[in-house]
């Protein structure tokens, strides 16, 4: 098992290099000019050239990328580089990007994790319920609800919720703040709807597929109670694909958080990113996307490892074929 985990972590490295490379290249081709941004429109050509040289913008692309990864020394702009936990400073606020991310990411993590727990807690049991009564009235109702949930634009739902629950009914605040847990209810519910719908559908189809398997017939033929057949025999097998989907949903939740946070004025990484995009603050965009991608990859790694714990076949196939 440990060897398996180590192997998975090693496999993560090229992916992360690729991600940073991709995002860095995207930012590199951005039409906005950081030197111009720093100096304002009226700078002299000489000052402008000096600024570009100071920021390393005159260096070849690959040098700039390596500097982004491993840092470089400069009295004003120098930083330690991504691998040492330094993402440089914002062009606009001159604050350390990494610091800003570190202060906001926990808020996003709180929101996304809460939403994930909520969608699993509701989506999986409802999916199981639907699967045990396929094509019944209740199954139809949940199927339609799930499709509705998967089709709703999150940012619109957020506004509709604000309109009803904050403006009209006044039950919950329209603005959220991580310090006030009541105020996160609305964004958390908004964020969870999509994932909940997807988990519900996946659980249902996965359960239905498992219930058709021969070993379920074997379990019934043993005279086991239907409850035991479902809980012990069907659910564990059905959960295997659901774990993967739940892991992928975490990425979707991070995405969804971008706009949900903005609409609820919640100080998370999404808000930082959107603000940075409006201000064309390259280091901050770069930093936040890379950070989110790394977090997402780590979550996927955790999912893979969990997979190995639930499914006895995974680690075995990595080690060798069964004893004969």
């Amino acid at each position: 098992m440990w060897r398996y985990i180590a192997k998975r972590i090693l496999m993560l490295i090229p992916v992360l290099v690729g991600v940073t490379f991709l995002v860095f290249s995207l930012m590199y081709i951005t039409p906005s000019d950081p030197a111009q941004l720093m100096l304002g429109a009226n700078a002299s050509p000489a000052a402008y050239a000096q600024m570009r040289a100071d920021m390393g913008l005159d260096k070849p692309f690959i040098v700039q990328y390596l500097r982004f990864l491993f840092g470089y020394k400069h009295p004003v702009f120098g930083y330690k580089g991504l691998v040492f936990g330094d993402l440089g400073r914002s062009y606009i606020t001159n604050r350390y990007v990494f610091e800003l991310i570190l202060s906001s990411f926990p808020n996003t993590a709180l929101l996304a994790t809460g939403a994930l727990i909520l969608s699993i807690a509701l989506g999986v049991p409802i999916g199981i319920l639907s699967a045990t009564r396929p094509y019944s009235f209740i199954d139809m109702v949940f199927t339609v609800l799930a499709l509705l949930g998967a089709s709703m634009p999150t940012f619109w739902v957020a506004m509709v919720f604000i309109f009803f629950f904050a403006n009209r009914l006044g039950w919950l605040p329209a603005m959220s703040d991580p310090a006030n847990l009541i105020s996160i209810i609305l964004p958390m519910v908004t964020l969870s709807l999509n994932s909940m719908a997807i988990l519900m559908r996946m659980t249902r189809s996965s359960m239905l597929e498992v219930m058709e398997q021969d070993y379920i017939r074997t379990a019934r033929l043993k005279g086991l109670d239907e409850g035991v057949v479902i809980r012990k025999h069907a659910l564990r097998n059905a959960l295997i694909p659901i774990i993967t989907i739940a892991g992928l949903q975490f990425g979707a939740l991070l995405s969804g958080a971008v706009l949900t946070e903005k609409i609820f004025a919640y100080p998370g990484i999404g808000t930082i990113m959107v603000d940075a995009i409006y201000l064309k603050d390259t280091p901050q965009i770069l930093g936040s996307i890379c950070f989110v991608a790394i977090m997402f990859s780590l979550v996927n790694l955790a999912v893979d490892i969990m997979y190995g714990l639930v499914d006895p076949r995974v680690k075995e196939t990595k080690r060798g074929p069964g004893r004969k």
Binding site: Y215, R217, T218, K222, L224, H233, P312
Partner: protein, 328 residues
């Protein structure tokens, strides 16, 4: 009442796309205690459906037992409540499937899968259940310590041994063996059958041995029933049926088989195909393929005719045999 199992006039239908698949039709069959009854037939004859009906495991909404009665030890299985049925399944009647690869739950250790059965039926504790599971594995020639391992760690032959251990764990009265060795290689098949024969003899278990192989029937069974299009067309002791097959279909099966002993080059296959189970022909179901077809065969469904316990459903024997009670 020396009949362990009495099936009377059983009919099972499946419903799909507004069509009715008549899988089992007016089937009557008795099984005596302590016998091994071979049920032979080709794909789609309804063998597995029959086996599942015996434990009332035809599941709606697609499948339904539409008619007939099933008595096991004198008790009507179809009238049993859920709880009573669960007490029966796995304890008094156990089943072995064709494919050992899919019959075991991949995420549970094999020991657990055996233990849960004995815990359920014999009221043992967890520890006792696991101990029993290890004993059962030893009985089928697998070291007890391997009870903690998962199905994928066993080869096909080993898995089928585990399935056998599982089926025999509660010492069932009746074992439904649905093509238990078809998925295995010949030499492994010989091993597994050897083991099954030994265990069955030791425990006095009655077996319904479902197979498409006449060879396996000859070597393992006391009695044999031939199934075609959902009904039993011939029934008798192995000596009777193999000595003098009466039904043209049974004879066709023998003719289709390449023999090791004979050196004849051409086989005499049965022409044509199985009838479509959603549109069975009027009269005898076998008539369209039958070499001995008479005008009456296309019109009237034949009755059972009985010759000293050797039963055949065919018009050829209408004149001189004593008719059995089954009306159709």
């Amino acid at each position: 009442m020396d009949n362990l199992l009495e099936i009377r006039d059983l009919a099972v239908h499946y419903y799909s796309n507004r069509k009715v698949v008549e899988a089992v039709n007016h089937l009557s069959l008795d099984m005596k205690k302590g016998t091994v009854l071979g049920l032979v037939g080709e794909t789609g004859a309804g063998k597995t459906t029959l086996a599942l009906s015996i434990v009332n495991m035809i599941r709606g909404p697609q499948g339904k037992i539409v008619q007939g009665s099933l008595r096991f030890n004198g008790k009507d299985i179809l009238a049993m409540g859920r709880q009573e049925l669960r007490g029966l399944r796995g304890k008094d009647i156990a089943m072995i499937f064709q494919d050992p690869m899919t019959a075991l739950n991949p995420v549970l250790p094999v020991g657990d899968q055996i233990a849960e059965t004995v815990i359920r039926h014999e009221g043992l504790t967890r520890a006792q259940g696991w101990k029993k599971a290890e004993e059962m594995l030893e009985t089928v020639g697998i070291p007890g310590i391997r009870s903690r391992e998962y199905p994928h760690q066993f080869s096909g032959g080993m898995k089928q041994r585990v399935v056998i251990a599982l089926a025999l764990a509660c010492n069932p009265v009746l074992l439904l063996a649905d093509e238990p060795t078809t998925a295995l290689d010949v030499t492994i098949q010989a091993q597994v059958l050897d083991l099954m024969r030994k265990l069955i003899r030791e425990n006095g278990t009655s077996v319904l041995f479902i197979t498409h192989s006449l060879g396996l029937v000859a070597e393992n069974c006391d009695e044999v029933a031939t199934m075609y299009a959902g009904e039993i067309v011939e029934y008798g002791t192995v000596d009777q049926v193999f000595g003098r097959p009466l039904h043209p279909y049974t004879r066709g099966l023998f003719g289709s088989l390449p023999r090791l002993r004979d050196s004849q080059r051409r086989l005499t296959p049965i022409p044509g195909l199985m009838p479509d189970p959603t549109a069975l022909p009027r009269g005898c179901y076998f008539a369209p393929r039958c070499p001995d077809k008479m005008p009456v065969c296309g019109e009237i469904h034949p009755r059972d005719h009985l010759f000293e316990g050797h039963r055949v459903k065919c018009h050829l024997y209408g004149g001189n045999g004593r008719e059995a009670g089954n009306e159709r």
